[in-house]
Point group: C2
Chain length 223, copies 2
């Protein structure tokens, strides 16, 4: 099996994460690197979405992936095998989120001079990651149909801080009590400016729209 580099992340000692995140964003801007922070609950399909999307964009942008998990490297290995994109695994040692300093520990292990886009797959958790600015240009999240259209009511901060919400697993919508319009309303109640894209990482539906959003972001971002 393909090997991926595994980085054991250490707890941050910085008190002011917001300032640290701002500094990281500026550093990355000076290097021409766009960082996307991708969040979701466990099992929403982050990795499958990434595999499909990376294969769509890898010839158009120089991209790398940082996979954060409590344990295991199954996702990082899968992404590297399925896409060939440079991928490293971050282990949080039980920690429930990444902040800017922890993100930097990962980035120190990516050869940034060859890269324009880094996608950070955060720990699967709808609570804690929402509280910490990672230094990313944008926050994106995946909400999957089986989780239910009421999640923005219960996890308000996550939906408030995300610029993009992908609604994944639309292929199984007939088997669940999920109302797409109600879901969109619930998301927009938390963040009226959110971009919402329904996708099915399994069938590929909507992946082109996510890829277009991402490529446009990388080309046009300003601090």
């Amino acid at each position: 099996m393909d090997q991926v580099k595994v980085i054991e992340i250490k707890k941050s000692v910085f008190a002011d994460n917001e300032q640290d995140a701002e500094n990281l964003r500026k550093e990355l801007k000076s290097k021409g690197v766009y960082l996307l922070n991708l969040m979701s609950a466990p099992g929403s399909g982050k990795t499958t979405t990434l595999v499909k999307t990376l294969n769509h964009i890898k010839d158009k942008v120089r991209v790398a992936v940082m996979e954060a998990d409590i344990d295991s490297d199954v996702d990082a290995v899968r992404i590297k095998l399925a896409t060939g994109v440079p991928t490293i695994q971050l282990h949080t040692g039980g920690m429930c989120h990444l902040d800017a300093e922890m993100t930097r520990q990962g980035l120190d292990n990516v050869t940034l001079k060859d890269i324009n886009l880094v996608i950070l797959e955060n720990v699967g958790n709808l609570v804690c990651p929402a509280e910490f600015d990672t230094g990313a240009v944008r926050n994106a999240m995946i909400l999957s149909v089986p989780e239910g259209d009421d999640k923005p009511l219960k996890y308000p901060l996550m939906f408030t801080v995300c610029d993009l919400v992908l609604i994944n697993k639309t292929d199984v919508m007939p088997y669940f009590d999920f109302d797409l319009e109600r879901c969109k309303q619930n998301i927009l109640m938390r963040n009226p400016k959110a971009t919402i894209i329904p996708i099915s990482a399994k069938t590929g539906e909507g992946i082109d729209a996510f890829a277009d959003w991402l490529l446009n972001e990388v080309q046009n971002w300003k601090l």
Copy 2:
């Protein structure tokens, strides 16, 4: 719409949660109250499972429910309406888990003299709640089929601390790449003593087995 009592939980000040949890368990034992801590990722079907199970057991045991969420009271209202069981809503004010002292703040609002079983629906999160003993007799969790059979690999502590794992949404198994036997192996790797019950809260399959487990626990628990 039916109203439920909403309790705003305050952060604990106790340093030694394990001792505090042990004390709470003894207090509850002296009152004849069995506490179950039910955990899962967001959207795994905790509330639907509870509704079905409560209607199965409410004539056999005097049960109350504490619903913990970051925000909203939709789940508590739904349980009260659908089962008539005494239910209160705990708001964690953004906190990602409950510890023993926070659980006690909820229990202070339940009329325990009429109750033999309290079910605590913890915050939807596979990371943080696993780290804190709530004072419950048992930890149970729900893993739903759409989340994937690999979750015990990525969230080791949650599966290690749970005595019971309900595998929910078995009715949609044909539409997902989910291997029940591999899932069971992954769970037992984390906790060889775990009881595993496949259920479908939607169709009711397996609810009787969970109800039997629960009634047997309440009748026979020892400290």
